[in-house]
């Protein structure tokens, strides 16, 4: 990659701050890495505030506080206040566990713009089995009500898998009841824990077709009222790969809990050395770092991408998916029907019909006593 291309890189408009991988839930679809690292390596308050200041100066405008469960960080309000004052649009992406009416109000005072709450199912039975925690549904339900009562825009996120896909219609009714503004019906993406559990999660093609029909019929009856529903299908059933992250290093910057800077939240699995905000500036990382330049442009692309007239639409697909399925991060995303590895996707769909391994519950991290980062006990 030559220097000319690097200076033409636009700003990292979207900054995802993964404040901690610590989480009170155990969802098997979690896309966090299976190696969660240690909480003692987490960035402290001042390091995060510096990240926000630097990224905002470069033009970052959307900021997602994510994890793990970001509410576990007691300094969340301080981070929201600082980033909102800088002009970020601030999004809290939470399981809802750890929210209270009081904390929702405190976050509002700090300047939080929006809250996204994840649900695992349409009722307590389904939800709490997937989440691996009792009373999770009840807590989420109450907090979603409070989020709307306190005047926030609210997004609900349902990760759809074989486990809950039969509930799609009930999930949509629940979303209306909770007065959500936007609802993501997002089939699991197979990274991290979800990749390990893929056979238990990946729906069949028939299940997908049936669910999509239900979603469309429900939308038709809405008459422009109620939540806006986004149905996100798994790319395993597509002929062309997704334009992952809108292109590597084009728009998205993820900072992992330990300060690793990544072009997406899964990229750490790749055999690349990623920079860390503890010892590199954000502008150096974004504009100069080898790992961030590695898949920019199209000079890295193999065939069939290199001569493909759609390469500017999908950028060769997802580098993590190519690596997970073929062992080669430079390969064409196997989702593409032109890929010589496309049979791997067909095989995965077949394997998911009869899972052989038991399902893995996402475990939690070890936490350390005497850390300088104050945590909230949930």
């Amino acid at each position: 990659m030559n220097n000319e291309t690097q200076t033409n890189v636009g700003p990292p408009l979207w900054l995802l701050a993964e404040l901690t991988y610590d989480c009170p839930l155990h969802c098997p679809y979690c896309s966090n890495p299976t190696d969660l690292g240690d909480t003692k390596d987490e960035l402290n308050t001042q390091q995060w505030l510096d990240v926000f200041t630097q990224a905002r100066a470069m033009g970052a405008v959307q900021l997602g506080f994510s994890g793990g469960e970001p509410l576990l960080r007691k300094d969340l309000e301080q981070m929201v206040k600082h980033s909102r004052e800088l002009g970020f649009y601030t999004n809290l992406i939470t399981s809802g566990i750890g929210l209270t009416e009081k904390r929702i109000a405190k976050l509002k005072v700090a300047g939080l713009d929006h809250i996204q709450i994840s649900f695992q199912g349409a009722d307590p039975e389904m939800n709490d089995i997937i989440a691996g925690r009792g009373n999770a549904f009840e807590q989420k339900f109450k907090m979603a009500q409070s989020v709307k009562e306190q005047g926030y825009p609210m997004v609900l996120n349902f990760v759809i898998s074989k486990q809950n896909i039969s509930q799609v219609e009930d999930i949509m009714r629940l979303s209306c009841l909770l007065k959500a503004d936007y609802v993501e019906l997002a089939t699991a993406q197979y990274y991290g824990w979800a990749f390990a559990n893929r056979d238990h999660l990946l729906p069949s093609q028939k299940q997908m077709v049936d669910a999509e029909k239900i979603v469309n019929e429900f939308r038709d009856k809405q008459n422009g009222k109620g939540p806006k529903f986004f149905f996100i299908t798994p790319d395993y059933f597509e002929d062309r790969p997704k334009a992952c992250m809108n292109g590597w290093g084009s728009t998205f910057l993820t900072i992992a809990p330990d300060g690793s800077a990544l072009p997406c939240h899964s990229a750490k699995m790749l055999p690349l050395k990623f920079p860390n905000v503890k010892n590199k500036s954000i502008s150096h990382i974004w504009q100069q770092d080898f790992a961030f330049n590695r898949f920019r442009g199209d000079s890295w692309m193999p065939e069939p991408c290199q001569s493909c007239d759609e390469k500017e639409k999908d950028f060769g697909g997802c580098r993590c998916q190519a690596f997970m399925m073929t062992g080669n991060m430079d390969a064409t995303d196997p989702v593409c029907s032109k890929s010589p590895d496309h049979h791997l996707v067909q095989e995965a769909i077949e394997l998911a019909k009869n899972p052989k391994e038991p399902i893995f519950e996402r475990v939690n991290q070890r936490t350390f006593k005497g850390e300088d980062i104050v945590r909230i006990k949930l």
Partner: protein, 91 residues
């Protein structure tokens, strides 16, 4: 129908903001952003809940005297922005 005495307001779901790095106005909403072109930005920044449609038309006609009468363009934009739910009108 939009008429000249209505007072448009920005839907609280959206936040209008000037972005120096992008050199344009943007509308921010949960996990998303709309980049506004120059004329859309000029209109949107006048929507403060107090200005009536007629005030917006007069202000912009005064500001851009060489652009001809902007009335129709402004109505067209307000109508499209209403459909996108960027704006609303209190009845």
């Amino acid at each position: 129908m939009i008429n000249s005495s209505l007072q448009p307001k920005i839907n609280p779901m959206f936040r209008l903001q000037w972005e120096q790095v992008q050199e344009c106005y943007v509308l921010l909403y949960p996990e998303g952003m709309v980049k506004l072109n120059g004329s859309a930005g000029e209109i949107m920044q006048l929507i403060d809940g107090n200005n009536k449609v007629v005030d917006i038309i007069n202000t912009l006609n005064d500001k851009f005297p060489d652009a001809g009468d902007l009335t129709e363009d402004i109505y067209e934009f307000l109508s499209a922005a209403g459909e996108k739910k960027w704006l609303y009108y209190e009845q």
